[in-house]
């Protein structure tokens, strides 16, 4: 039993003194500057400005895109960043839509109050259901989220006196935004309102994903078993992000109600949950701009193709989904990044 003296001695020495000199200076810049705004981002946010002047007659479509983009953002936080699979995210969109609609119908038509109320309702339900959803495997999560959404759909469907059932909720009347801007027929106020809310919440989401909290979500998605071992409470983080995603979806739903002054039953439909997931996957999950770009591409294509022929649209939508899953799992953003990497490599041989 002979121990190697050198090894034994070295054990006694403190860590720092033993640290071997590194040949490369540590380059901390990539991490330190990860959250800085970049030029393409600034350009991206000019799009809503330009679109306003280029397509003044399509403002209602453009508002819809902004609202749906916010909804896509909400599922990106849950699914893209934290990896919580869901087939029923429309539940929160619909809750927000009905909450804002009912509040306005019963006399409180202030838009911002409506947003706050919708967010509060969606937050509360999101928080409560998170405990159901976060148990179990992916498959259970898919089923439970689906089940919760279907329950809400049936409830809204059957509670006709309250929600209007299949006929939708009528009589939603909004007062002026901030007491100044009335909702006009051309949808100008609606457009700027939707874009402004989207931008503010995007900015908040951007802060969140770059924060230690946001980083821990990525950690959970990439290796859930490791997180407790570095001292992170996984369940608490997931409850937090699920609730946050629900709140975002609720705000998106409220925006739709307020800008259209109507709530249709299909705000809660399964197809809405499926389609929003699709837009996210199309753009690229786990990337905020993926959610936005996926929505823009999807909604634009939908607008032009489904006018042509709804079946045609549905078929190619399905085909696109199959192809994305098989060949481009990281969506448009992933393809863009790969192209960029290839160009960079060509530039520096």
């Amino acid at each position: 039993m002979v121990r190697e003296p050198a090894l034994h001695e070295s054990m006694m020495r403190p860590l720092a003194a033993q640290a071997p000199e590194s040949t490369v200076a540590p380059d901390l810049a990539p991490l330190r500057r990860a959250a800085a705004w970049r030029v393409p981002e600034v350009i991206f946010w000019l799009i809503p400005l330009i679109a306003y002047f280029l397509f003044p007659k399509s403002l209602s479509l453009l508002s819809q895109i902004a609202i749906t983009a916010l909804f896509a953002l909400s599922i990106d936080l849950i699914l893209g960043y934290a990896g919580i699979v869901t087939l029923g995210h429309a539940a929160f969109f619909g809750l927000g839509a009905y909450a804002a609609g009912l509040l306005a119908k019963y006399g409180y038509g202030d838009p911002l109050l409506g947003l706050a109320f919708a967010a509060a309702v969606a937050t509360a339900v999101g928080f409560l259901t998170s405990f159901l959803v976060l148990r179990g495997t992916d498959l259970t999560r898919l089923m439970v989220t689906l089940g919760v959404a279907m329950m809400l759909f049936e409830a809204a469907n059957k509670a006709t006196p309250f929600t209007g059932g299949v006929d939708g909720l009528q009589g939603v009347e909004m007062t002026r935004l901030l007491g100044v801007f009335g909702f006009d027929l051309y949808g100008k106020t609606a457009y700027w309102y939707s874009v402004a809310v989207l931008f503010v919440l995007f900015w908040v989401a951007r802060r969140i994903v770059h924060s230690p909290f946001g980083m821990s979500l990525r950690g959970i998605k990439q290796n859930v078993a490791r997180m407790p071992a570095i001292g992170a409470p996984v369940h608490g983080r997931l409850v937090a992000v699920y609730t946050l995603g629900a709140a975002y979806a609720g705000v998106a739903g409220a925006l739709l109600t307020q800008t259209t002054q109507f709530v249709s039953l299909d705000v809660l439909a399964f197809t809405r949950s499926a389609e929003i997931m699709l837009m996210l996957v199309l753009g690229g999950t786990g990337c905020l701009y993926g959610a936005l770009i996926g929505t823009i591409v999807f909604m634009t294509a939908h607008h032009f193709l489904s006018d042509l022929n709804p079946q045609y649209w549905q078929f190619w939508l399905g085909a696109a989904l199959v192809l994305i899953v098989l060949f481009a799992r990281d969506g448009i953003m992933g393809i863009a990044q790969r192209l960029q990497a290839r160009l960079a490599r060509r530039a520096t041989p």
Binding site: R135, L139, T140, L142, M143, G147, E154, K158, G318, V325
Partner: protein, 285 residues
């Protein structure tokens, strides 16, 4: 009593369609939301064979199942195979995509309307007992369901193929090492799942109707059966489907204002307290 009987029949029908999903989801661990599309293939095949080709019902049903199986084999060989090791989310997205394509295709060829469907005379009518009206077709469904359950139990539990299948699912690499042709076993199993879907679809036209929206309309029900019954558990699926059928029919007859709410609630509660399914084994992953 009639409610219970009708519920049993509806449950049996749900079972006939869902058991195929139980096979693909439970035994192959593939979340195939396009299961309803295979059922629809069976449904259209059967309806068209009856109405346009004039083929007798009892012959049309197996042909319909075969058509669905064929569709299953083709898609398994070309597409599904690539996604066996993918995440459940990818499988969900992929199969929703297939659903959309199937719905659009059915729409394109057959139009949006319900398919006309006429049962042969010997399956029409009722047997009236005191306090119980037995629809003959419903009785027929129950009988077919029972026969199928027994046959499947035997196939998976007691045959060489069943043993190969279970080995291939548990550990494909070891199974391959043992000389099992895993690819072929998976293809055959998928074909079996599709055939069962097609069979259920064909038998279900009479009660569920058939239009291009079929794959999306009923997928939730199929999933509930499998989720509640426990994936890959044939007996569990049967009991879950029967329960679901009785609940659904009873709900619709007795408290129509509640609608399907009860069923979804039951499913969520089930999943929370028994995530492995009501009859599932506690140790399965």
């Amino acid at each position: 009593m009639t409610i219970i009987f009708d519920g049993l029949a509806e449950g049996m029908l749900l079972f006939l369609i869902s058991v195929g999903l139980s096979v693909t989801l439970g035994l192959m661990n593939f979340v195939n939301l396009a299961h309803g599309a295979f059922a629809m293939v069976g449904g259209y095949a059967c309806a068209l064979l009856l109405s346009r080709a004039g083929i007798p019902f009892l012959l049309a049903v197996p042909i319909a199942a075969a058509a669905a199986a064929l569709a299953g084999v083709i898609l398994e060989r070309t597409l599904y195979r690539r996604l066996y090791t993918a995440s459940h989310l990818d499988q969900v997205l992929f199969s929703i995509g297939l659903n959309f394509m199937a719905v659009a295709t059915a729409h394109f060829f057959f139009g949006a309307q319900q398919q006309p469907f006429v049962l042969p005379d010997f399956l029409k009518g009722q047997i009236n007992l005191p306090g119980l009206d037995i629809g003959i077709y419903r009785l027929f469904l129950i009988v077919v369901g029972v026969i199928l359950t027994v046959a499947l139990q035997w196939l998976v539990g007691s045959t060489r193929f069943g043993a190969q299948l279970r080995a291939a699912v548990d550990n494909p690499r070891v199974a391959r090492g043992l000389g099992i042709n895993v690819d072929r076993v998976f293809t055959l199993t998928f074909a079996l799942g599709s055939a069962l879907a097609g069979l259920g679809g064909a038998l279900g036209v009479e009660m569920l109707g058939l239009d291009p929206g079929f794959p999306l309309k009923y997928i939730v029900y199929f999933l509930i059966v499998v989720a509640v019954g426990g994936t890959g558990n044939i007996k569990g699926s049967l009991l879950a489907a029967l329960m679901l059928g009785i609940f659904d029919v009873a709900g619709k007859y007795l408290v129509p204002q509640v609608g399907s709410f009860v069923i979804y609630a039951v499913m969520v509660v089930m999943l929370i307290f028994r995530p492995q399914g009501f009859f599932g084994r506690a140790t399965t992953r």
